[in-house]
Amino acid sequence: MAERIVVDPITRIEGHLRIEAKVENGKIVDAWSSGTMFRGIEKILQGRDPRDAWYITQRFCGVCTTVHSIASIRSVENALGISIPFNAELIRNIIMGSQYVQDHVIHFYHLHALDWVDITSALKADPKKTAAMQQSVSDWKYSSEDYFRGVQERLGAFVKTGRLGPFANAYWGHSAYKLPPEANLMATAHYLQALELQKEIIKIHAVLGSKNPHPQTFLVGGMSIPIDQNSQNAINADKIAMMLEYNKLAKEFVEQVYIPDILAVAPFYLDWAGIGAGHKNYMSYGEFPETQKGYPNDMWLPSGIIKGGDLSNIISVDQSKIAEDCAHSWYEDKSAKHPFDGASDKKYTGPQPPYDFLDVDKDYSFVKAPRYDGEPMEVGPLARMLVAYAKGHKDVKPVVDFVLGKLGAGPEALFSTLGRTAARAIETLVTVKKVDQWIMDLATNIKSGDYAIHANEKWEPSSWPMNAKGYGWHEAPRGALGHWIVIENGEIKNYQAVVPSTWNAGPMDKGDVHGPY
């Protein structure tokens, strides 16, 4: 007898996501992913000035605001054929790179780790043994017996008063938690340290973007933050030093805490390396232009597509092969459309709330179903790391091989839930090192006398063609993000965003093929 389980809302994702799973004999046999909220920001953008779009698109997401600015300005720059100065390119790299580090650290420690770490078990740990465990995995500064006893006491005081705060509503004590108490205490301490760390690393966004979230210094054609060694309000030597300092804190944490934690926790959950593969189709748009040629040339992380887990054949990405269909989505137009021609006219035909279940044979989501050449694609850190690994990337391949070696697993283990978690950690490590380099590159370029930050030849709409179309891609922390813009008479005619969660969490397509979720 089949039973239906509903999880709504799914956390860890911005917006309102609902999963309905069909269970038979204690096993999930099918599941459906539904986005239950329509916001219509793409419609709000119609008729507006393309140069303002980046500011409005930050509101696509309540968590990852910066990424939509990047995709938006790139779409306009692509439509109008604008190349930006190298300084602006490097500043964007530093902003995007530090976003990876902060987002991945939060994702692992604050959104995900409590699936593996039992906070209540940490109360039973021996602080002395925990200290020994910490000292055996890295040189991290917080490793004394007293330190862990202190954490345990604070935690114990909390649990006693019944105020669990962020730790409420978990399955504490469940047999699926496999870590020994000492590992749980160590991980809990890191959860708290990561809270502290994430707010430091993101200060880089305040330095370059004036504030975070919703940085203010993006501009079509470059950036709006000036470079001036003699001004306190511009990028100067002090600001460069400040950014290096924040990144140093992050690098220490990633090297001495995050990576060792992954290596320490993974062996207890190796069975997770055998589940959660999905379609094994992966797509990366590529990110971080590294030379004067600018985006999308000479990118540090390569673009590419992997189909069916075949790492020997990397297919290049062609934007004309992307289409979204609405066969199971609440929109007027059901047909598969390229984003330039996409529409956002909703037509809700689902049940009136409160309801028990969605009718998944019909329409059941406000998310559309994007396909590449007709096939679903998984996007995210795993996709990026796999594409880079398969291409023999000089920074990525050694780290992936090192982690796989430590776990005694082959590359096929990456096609899994554990693989996704490991890929996110690996990407954080290689990226935090690159952020250092981009900050130094920026300093060197400024020293050479290059103060250019904005290309303004095509700023005035009078310099634009009557009709223009463009797409802006960005590998956001959560995966491949694309904005498509159609400009007519200096105004936005059409705007479509295909975000990472559209790729990953979309509903079934016209052939009833599920998205990656």
Binding site: H16, H110, L155, L164, K199
Partner: protein
């Protein structure tokens, strides 16, 4: 000693915006005058506010509440009572203010003094209008918060 006056809520959810309105009004009057005072529109941010909370020695929170009182009723809460004000708040996709406060306590950064001013909401729908009772009593809420600022400044 640093004072943070933090209004939280969602501007497009009717009465939920009350705290934000108060913060926006007082910010115009008191911000950029001295380094140890900040009036902040916290919107619906959670974790991102940790840096500000860390900075504060005293925190004055302003938010709409649902404690089954007469709509528009203004209350002041202190100590453990503050947790009660957040019990009816749903935060699906990010850390709520209650979690935020507990978290700041766990990492040893909760401000030494926390005071909460709330106003009983009447309507939390997706719109930008405050309900009549909340609109009517908003000046009263603003006054109470302003008194905190005035006594801090004196």
């Amino acid at each position: 000693m640093n004072l943070l006056v933090l209004g939280i809520g969602n501007l497009v959810m009717n009465d939920d915006a009350a705290g934000v309105h108060v913060a926006q009004e007082l910010a115009k009057k008191y911000n950029n005058k001295q380094d140890d005072l900040l009036v902040l529109d916290g919107g619906t941010l959670g974790l991102d506010l940790l840096g500000y909370i860390d900075w504060a020695d005293k925190l004055v929170l302003i938010d709409a509440i649902d404690l089954n009182m007469e709509p528009g009723t203004v209350v002041k809460l202190e100590g453990d009572d503050i947790d009660v004000a957040f019990d009816n708040k749903l935060s699906a996709h990010q850390m709520g203010m209650k979690d935020m406060l507990l978290t700041s306590e766990l990492i040893g950064q909760r401000p030494a003094e926390v005071v909460f001013y709330g106003i009983q909401s009447s309507s939390i729908q997706m719109d930008m209008e405050l309900s009549e009772p909340v609109k009517k009593n908003l000046p009263k809420l603003t006054d109470h918060v302003e008194q905190e600022i005035i006594s801090f400044l004196s």
